[in-house]
C-alpha cells in the first residue's frame, strides 16, 4: 500500500482542527478497518490523523449509573476491565469475542461505532443499552447514531470521544460467529432496566444494526419463553454467501432467546 501523510494528534481539539484543515484527512484509531479498506483502495485518504496520542480518549470509568469508555480503548481492555466486569459483565464478554487476540489489542470502540460495520458487535450493545455517543461537539443517543450500512450521524470533522453505557439490571449477548471472519453472522443483544427491555440485532439487517421492537414488546416477563412464539420476517434481512435471509431471521429468534437466558445467568 502507499505511504500516506501521518500526523499524531495530541489533543481532541487539535485533531478536529487538522481534520477540517487538511483535505482528504481521515481519523486513524486502531486502523484495523481503515487500513484494509485503503489496501483494497475502497478509501484513499491523503492524511491520517492518529488519535493514539490523545490520552484523554483512552480509559474506562464508572460515572454514576453509567460505564464510560474512551473512544481509543481497545477491545481487549474492555474485555478484561474490572470496572466493566463488575458493572456490565456481558459487555466485557461481548468485547472478548471480537475477532482474534491481535485484533482485540488494536481495534477500538470508537473506530467500531464510527465505522458501523453491519456485522460489528459494539453497535448492538450501544442500541440495547441505550448508550450515548459523546463526540467533540455533542452527545447523540445510540438510537439516532447508527443510520445505515457504514453510516452514522457523525458530521464532517466530528470525533467520537467516548461512549457512555447506562448500567442495566441485566444484559446478555449471543453471537453466531461467521466461521471465516469471526464477525457476527447474527448477534443479538438484550438488556433490561426496570420495566423496559431492549433488543438489538447486528449482522442481519440489510440496513445495519436495528432494534427488534416486537421482541421488546413481547417481554411480558423478562425470560426466553416470552419470545417463544415470535418469528422474525425475512423481509429486510440480509442474505449473502454465508447465509440466506430466512436462516438469519431464524437465527435472530434463537439468539434473542439465548441472549435473554444468558442475561438471567442460564444456558439455553
Amino acid at each position: 500500500m502507499y505511504a500516506f501523510d501521518y500526523i499524531k494528534a495530541t489533543s481532541l481539539d487539535q485533531a478536529a482542527k487538522l481534520l477540517s484543515e487538511k483535505e482528504e484527512a481521515k481519523l486513524l484509531a486502531g486502523g484495523h478497518t481503515l487500513l484494509p479498506t485503503m489496501k483494497q483502495r475502497l478509501a484513499a485518504p491523503g492524511v491520517l490523523v492518529d488519535l493514539s496520542g490523545v490520552s484523554d480518549l483512552r480509559g474506562i470509568a464508572r460515572e454514576g449509573d453509567a460505564v464510560v469508555i474512551g473512544a481509543m480503548t481497545p477491545h481487549g481492555e474492555v474485555a478484561t476491565s474490572a470496572v466493566v466486569r463488575a458493572a456490565i459483565p456481558s459487555l466485557a464478554e461481548l468485547a472478548s469475542v471480537i475477532g482474534d487476540p491481535a485484533v482485540r489489542h488494536r481495534g477500538t470502540i470508537g473506530g467500531s461505532v464510527a465505522n458501523n460495520d453491519p456485522a460489528a458487535d459494539y453497535p448492538a450493545a450501544c442500541l440495547a443499552l441505550g448508550a450515548t455517543i459523546v463526540t467533540n461537539k455533542r452527545s447523540v443517543a445510540a438510537d439516532d447514531f447508527f443510520t445505515g450500512l457504514f453510516e452514522t450521524a457523525l458530521e464532517d470533522g466530528e470525533i467520537v470521544a467516548k461512549v457512555s453505557f447506562p448500567i442495566p439490571d441485566k444484559m446478555g449477548y449471543a453471537k453466531f460467529r461467521n466461521p471465516a471472519s469471526r464477525y457476527a453472522l447474527v448477534g443479538v443483544c438484550v438488556a433490561q432496566k426496570g420495566s423496559t427491555a431492549r433488543v438489538a440485532v447486528t449482522g442481519a439487517g440489510s440496513n445495519g444494526v436495528f432494534r427488534w421492537k416486537e421482541a421488546e414488546a413481547a417481554f411480558a416477563t423478562f425470560d426466553p419463553a416470552s419470545l417463544e412464539k415470535l418469528t422474525m420476517s425475512p423481509a429486510g434481512i440480509n442474505g449473502d454467501i454465508h447465509a440466506d435471509a430466512e436462516y438469519r431471521a431464524h437465527l435472530i429468534g434463537v439468539m434473542a432467546r439465548r441472549a435473554t437466558a444468558k442475561a438471567l445467568g442460564k444456558r439455553l
Binding site: 495530541t10 487539535q14 486502523g31 487500513l35 482474534d100 485484533v103 488494536r106 466461521p179 454467501i241 440466506d244
Partner: protein
C-alpha cells in the same frame, strides 16, 4: 503547541529485537513495510495484507499486533519483537520444538511462533484449548498450526525434546525434520518477493471491473503524463512473441484480446513507483470500459446457439470426456435398486494470500523470474515465447508461495514482460482482492445414477457432469476429464458410463490443482452409495468393503490393478473405528436431548498418481562437484508439502549418504511440462539418479555394492569392511566443476485412452477411506466435525510424520469443502468469504497409514497423502445424513442450507 511534523521527514526510533534503531519511515505505510522494506527484515511474512491470515503477527511493546495493519509511524518509541529476535530463551525453545514437531512450511511459522511466545509469556501453562484459541487467528494452509499446538504444549510442559531416529539408520520410513525446518523457524524461507532488490519498479495489472466488457485504449501517453511515478503502460503491442499463458492456441492470453472475458481479466499493465501504483484501483488506467452482458451459468452457456465466449470457437463446450464400460442401461436393468441425484458444488477461493513475485536481468543476460510457478519449466518456455527469446534466456527461480499452492499464471508473465520492457528489476503490486481471481475452484453440476443387486454388489454407475471452466481453459488441468475417470470410485462395477463437459463462461478461470473434479465426483458417488446401502439394508462400511477394488481387479477404464491397491486394507483398518463410532453415536442419540444429534459417515477415494495419461519422461539429476557439494536438480518444488524432504530421504538411502549432505536446486534444463511431477514419478526419478551416481562412484573407487559412502569437505570416502578408499574431489577431472553425476529418468507406464475412455491413464493410484463423526445442532443447522479417521494407502510412507501432517491438512481443507468454502465471484473483495477452518475449529484427525508397496515407486512410495482431501467432504456429508436424514445436494452444506432442508423434512 508545536505543529506535528508530517511523515515526509519522519524518523522512527524504536527498539527492534533489543537494539535501538532509527529508521526512515517516510516510504513505509505499515510496520510490515518498515520491517521488510526499510529494515530488510523479511522474516515477518505477508499473506493477505488485510488482517485475515495472521501470518504477520509481531509484538509491539510485548503485545501481539498484525504488522500489515499497524501504521509504520506507530512504531516510534516502541519495542518491537520479530522472528529475527535471537536472544530470547523461550523463543529459542519454541523454535526447536516447532522444528521437531514439523510445525509449518515457513509461511505462517513466524506468526505462529510469535503468537505462541506472547501466549507463554502470559500463561506459562496454557490448556490445549487456550493454545488453539491463541493461535486461532492464523489461517494456516499446510497444517503447520495443528502441529504448533503440540509444540507449544511440549514447551509449556517442559517435556523432553522429541528425539529423531539416530543417524546412520535408514532414512526412508523415518520421521525426520523437514530439510528446511531450521530456516522456516527463523523466517528465512524465501517467499514471494522476499529476495527482491531495493531499486525495483512495480508492475500492476489493469483489470476489467465487469464480468464482461469491451475496452478501448485512450491516449496512453497523455494519461501517463498526468500520472507522476508511472514509468510505462504495457499493452499487447509490447509483446514481441506470443500473447498466451499456456501452450494451447485457445489458452488464456496475458492481455485480453478484443473483449475482457471475466471480472479481473487483464488488458494491460502499468509499471512505475510503488506509491504511484498503490494509489490506483485495479481498473484504473487509460482505458474505457463498455460492459457487455455476461454469460455466467454453465448450463446456459452450453446451449446450442448461445454466444460463444471465445469467438474462435463454435459453442462453449470446450472439452468433453467420455468413459464407457459394459452397457450401463442393461446394468441398471440388472440391478434390483437404483438411486439417483443431482449435485451442485460452488465456486470457492481457497487461498487468502496476495500474489507476489519479482524479476530481474542477470549479468549473464538471463531474465530471472522469482515466483511460485506451478510447472516452472513450462512457465519458462511460455515466457520465452512471449518475449520471443530462446528458452535459455529465461530462468524461473521457484520461491515458496505464501500458504502453499501455485501462483496465477499471469504473475510470472507480467513480471517478465515489465522487466523486459523497462530493463529494471520489477516486483508485483497487487491488491489483496486481485489474487482471488486466480485461486478458484469453479462450480459444477453432476447427475449420477447407481444400481446395485439385492446382494449389495454394484452393477451400474452412470454420471453426467458439467464443469464451469470459467473464461479460459485451465492450464495443465482438466477437472472434467479427471472427474469422468474417477467418478465411479474405487469400486468394481461392470457397467459404467460417465460423460463430462468443461464449459466456458464469463467467470474467472479455474486454478489448476487442488483435486478439482475428483472432489465433486466423489461427493456425488459416495452420497448415492450411502443412500443405496441404506435402501438395501446393508451396513454402509460393509457395502463399500464388498465392492472395493483391490489387487487384480479392473478399474472402470479397463486397467487391471497388478499391485499396490490398498483400499481393502484401508477399509479394514477403519473397521473398529467404524463400529465404535456407530455405537457411540447411537448411545449419544438415545440418551441425550434432541437438540444435538450425532452422525457417522464413511467414504472412499482413489486418485491417479500424476497428470492424466502423463506419458514421456521425468528427469532428475544429482551432481557432486569438486568442492564436495552434492546437489539434487529437478523440476520438483516444495509447495509446503515437504516433497523435497521426502526425495532427499529416498536419495540418501539409495546413494548411501546422510540427508544432511544434500542441497536442492531447480534444473534449468528440464523440458517443459504442463504439470509439476507427481511425487510417485519424481521419487522414482530421484532414486534412479542416486543409483546412477552410486554406481559411478563405486566403479571409480573399485568397491563392492555394500560399500558405505561419506563426504568430508572435498574428500569422498568409501568403506567396505576393512577396505577404505578416499577420493579427493578437488583433484579430480571434471566438467564444469562436476566430478560425479547421476541421472534418473522415469516414464510411468500409461497408455492413451481410446474413444470409450478405456486404457491405462495412470501408472499408479493412491487409495483411501475415511470415517467422519459429526454433531449437528438441530436448531441452528450448525455442524461440528468431531473426529475424522483417515486411512490412506501411500505405497510407502517415506516420512510418516510428513505424510500424516499432509493428510491432516488435507482433511482440514476437506471440512472447508463440505461446510464452508464458497465465494461469490461477483465480490472479489470478499476477504470474509475465503474459508478454511482455523485451528480452533479443525477436527481431531486419526491417521492410519497403509503401505501397499508400489513396485514402480521409489522404495514402494506412490504419494504424499494429499489426495485425502477427496474423501473428507463426502464422509462428512454422509455423517450429516446419518444424523439428520438430510441428503446434501448443494455443496457446501452451509448451516442455512442444512437448517432449511431439515425444516422441509420436518414439514
Amino acid at each position: 503547541m508545536s505543529e506535528p511534523a508530517p511523515a515526509a521527514d519522519a524518523k522512527i526510533r524504536m527498539r527492534l529485537n533489543g537494539r535501538e534503531i532509527a529508521a526512515d519511515g517516510s516510504r513505509a505505510a505499515t510496520l510490515a513495510d518498515l520491517l521488510r522494506e526499510t529494515c530488510g527484515l523479511t522474516g515477518t511474512k505477508i499473506g493477505c495484507e488485510t488482517g485475515d491470515c495472521g501470518a504477520c503477527v509481531i509484538l509491539v511493546d510485548g503485545r501481539q499486533a498484525l504488522a500489515c495493519l499497524t501504521p509504520a509511524l506507530r512504531a516510534d518509541g516502541r519495542e518491537i519483537t520479530t522472528i529475527e529476535q535471537r536472544d530470547d530463551p523461550l523463543l529459542e525453545r519454541l523454535r526447536r520444538a516447532f522444528a521437531d514437531h514439523g510445525a509449518g512450511c515457513g509461511f505462517c511459522a513466524p506468526g505462529l511462533l510469535i503468537s505462541s511466545l506472547d501466549l507463554l509469556r502470559r500463561a506459562p501453562k496454557p490448556s490445549r484449548r487456550r493454545i488453539a484459541e491463541a493461535l486461532g487467528g492464523i489461517r494456516c494452509g499446510c497444517g503447520g498450526a495443528l502441529k504448533a499446538i503440540d509444540a507449544v504444549e511440549a514447551v509449556a510442559n517442559g517435556g523432553a525434546e522429541k528425539q529423531s531416529a539416530p543417524a546412520g539408520a535408514l532414512n526412508v520410513g523415518r520421521s525426520m525434520q523437514r530439510i528446511d525446518a531450521q530456516r522456516a523457524m527463523e523466517g528465512a524461507t524465501a517467499l514471494g518477493d522476499d529476495g527482491a532488490p531495493h531499486d525495483c519498479l512495480f508492475v500492476r495489472a489493469i483489470r476489467c471491473p465487469f464480468p464482461r466488457a469491451a475496452f478501448a485504449a485512450q491516449d496512453i501517453e497523455a494519461w501517463r503524463a498526468t500520472h507522476p511515478g508511472v514509468a510505462a503502460v504495457i499493452t499487447a503491442a509490447d509483446i514481441a512473441g506470443v500473447n498466451l499463458l499456456a501452450g494451447e492456441p485457445h489458452a488464456r492470453p496475458l492481455f485480453a484480446q478484443g473483449e475482457a472475458r471475466f471480472r479481473g481479466d487483464i488488458v494491460a499493465a502499468i509499471v512505475g513507483e510503488r506509491d504511484a501504483l498503490a494509489r490506483l484501483s485495479p481498473d484504473d488506467g487509460p482505458f474505457d470500459w463498455t460492459p457487455l452482458p455476461p454469460l455466467t451459468d454453465a448450463a446456459r452457456a452450453a446451449d446450442d446457439g448461445v454466444r460463444a465466449i471465445d469467438p474462435r470457437r463454435s459453442g462453449n463446450v470446450a472439452m468433453r470426456a467420455h468413459l464407457r464400460r459394459g452397457h450401463v442401461a442393461a446394468g441398471h436393468a440388472q440391478g434390483s435398486l437404483t438411486v439417483e441425484g443431482e449435485f451442485e458444488t460452488s465456486a470457492a477461493a481457497f487461498a487468502a494470500v496476495s500474489e507476489k513475485g519479482w524479476a530481474e536481468w542477470g549479468g549473464d543476460g538471463v531474465l530471472s523470474v522469482h515466483v511460485g510457478a506451478r510447472a516452472y519449466a513450462a512457465c519458462r518456455d511460455r515466457i520465452a515465447a512471449m518475449l520471443a527469446v530462446p528458452a535459455h534466456a529465461v530462468r524461473i527461480v521457484p520461491t515458496q508461495r505464501a500458504g502453499g499452492g501455485a501462483c496465477d499464471p499471469a504473475t510470472p508473465a507480467l513480471l517478465a514482460l515489465a522487466c523486459a520492457v523497462t530493463k529494471r528489476p520489477v516486483r508485483l503490486c497487487c491488491a489483496p482482492s486481485e489474487s482471488v481471481a486466480a485461486a478458484m475452484r469453479r462450480p459444477a453440476r453432476i447427475n449420477a445414477r447407481v444400481s446395485a443387486a439385492a446382494d449389495g454388489r454394484l452393477v451400474a454407475f452412470e454420471m453426467r457432469g458439467d464443469f464451469n471452466a470459467g473464461a479460459y481453459l485451465p492450464d495443465g488441468a482438466d477437472p472434467a476429464g479427471l472427474a469422468a475417470l474417477h467418478a465411479a470410485g474405487p469400486y468394481a462395477i461392470a457397467h459404467v458410463r460417465c460423460r463430462t463437459r468443461a464449459i466456458l463462461t464469463n467467470e474467472p478461470p479455474a486454478a489448476a490443482g487442488g483435486a478439482a473434479g475428483r472432489i465433486e465426483a466423489a461427493i456425488a458417488a459416495e452420497t448415492l452409495l450411502d443412500e443405496l446401502a441404506e435402501r438395501i439394508g446393508m451396513d454402509r462400511w460393509a457395502f463399500r468393503r464388498l465392492n472395493a477394488i483391490g489387487h487384480g481387479d479392473m478399474t472402470p477404464t479397463g486397467q487391471t490393478l497388478a499391485a499396490s491397491a490398498g483400499l481393502p486394507q484401508c477399509l479394514d483398518a477403519l473397521k473398529l473405528d467404524w463400529e465404535q463410532a456407530m455405537w457411540e453415536a447411537q448411545m449419544q442419540n438415545a440418551t441425550h436431548a434432541e437438540r444435538y444429534r450425532r452422525g457417522v459417515g464413511v467414504a472412499c477415494l482413489w486418485s491417479g498418481c500424476g497428470a492424466l495419461s502423463e506419458s514421456g519422461e521425468r528427469r532428475a539429476r544429482l551432481t557432486l562437484d569438486r568442492d564436495g557439494r552434492l546437489v539434487f536438480r529437478s523440476d520438483v518444488q516444495d509447495f509446503g508439502d515437504g516433497a523435497l524432504t521426502a526425495l532427499v530421504q529416498i536419495m540418501a538411502d539409495e546413494l548411501g549418504m546422510p540427508t544432511s549432505a544434500f542441497e536442492c536446486e531447480t534444473d534449468d534444463d528440464t523440458p517443459a511440462r504442463d504439470a509439476p511431477p507427481h511425487f510417485f514419478v519424481a521419487g522414482r526419478a530421484a532414486m534412479l539418479a542416486a543409483r546412477d551416481m552410486r554406481r559411478k562412484i563405486l566403479r571409480l573407487a573399485n568397491m563392492g555394492s555394500r560399500a558405505r559412502l561419506s563426504l568430508k569437505g572435498r574428500e569422498l570416502q568409501a568403506q567396505e569392511g576393512e577396505t577404505r578408499r578416499s577420493i579427493d574431489l578437488g583433484a579430480m577431472t571434471h566438467e564444469k566443476g562436476v566430478v560425479f553425476s547421476g541421472d534418473g529418468v522415469f516414464s510411468p507406464a500409461v497408455s492413451a485412452l481410446d474413444w470409450d475412455g478405456q486404457g491405462a491413464p495412470f501408472a499408479a493410484y493412491s487409495f483411501g477411506a475415511q470415517i467422519a463423526e459429526v454433531e449437528v445442532d438441530m436448531l441452528l443447522g450448525r455442524v461440528k466435525v468431531l473426529h475424522v479417521a483417515a486411512a490412506q494407502d501411500v505405497g510407502r510412507a517415506v516420512n510418516p510424520q510428513l505424510t500424516e501432517d499432509r493428510i491432516r491438512a488435507a482433511v482440514t481443507q476437506g471440512v472447508g469443502v463440505a461446510l464452508m468454502q464458497e465465494t461469490d465471484p461477483g465480490h472479489l473483495d470478499a476477504a470474509r468469504g475465503r474459508i478454511a477452518p482455523g485451528v480452533a475449529e479443525a477436527p481431531r484427525v486419526t491417521v492410519r497409514l497403509i503401505e501397499d508397496r508400489e513396485p514402480d515407486g521409489a522404495f514402494g512410495a506412490k504419494s504424499l497423502g494429499g489426495s485425502a482431501i477427496i474423501a473428507t467432504a463426502p464422509a462428512i456429508l454422509n455423517a450429516i445424513r446419518h444424523a439428520t436424514g438430510v441428503a446434501a445436494r448443494k455443496i457446501p452444506l452451509r448451516p442455512d442450507r442444512l437448517w432449511e432442508a431439515m425444516r422441509l423434512r420436518g414439514a
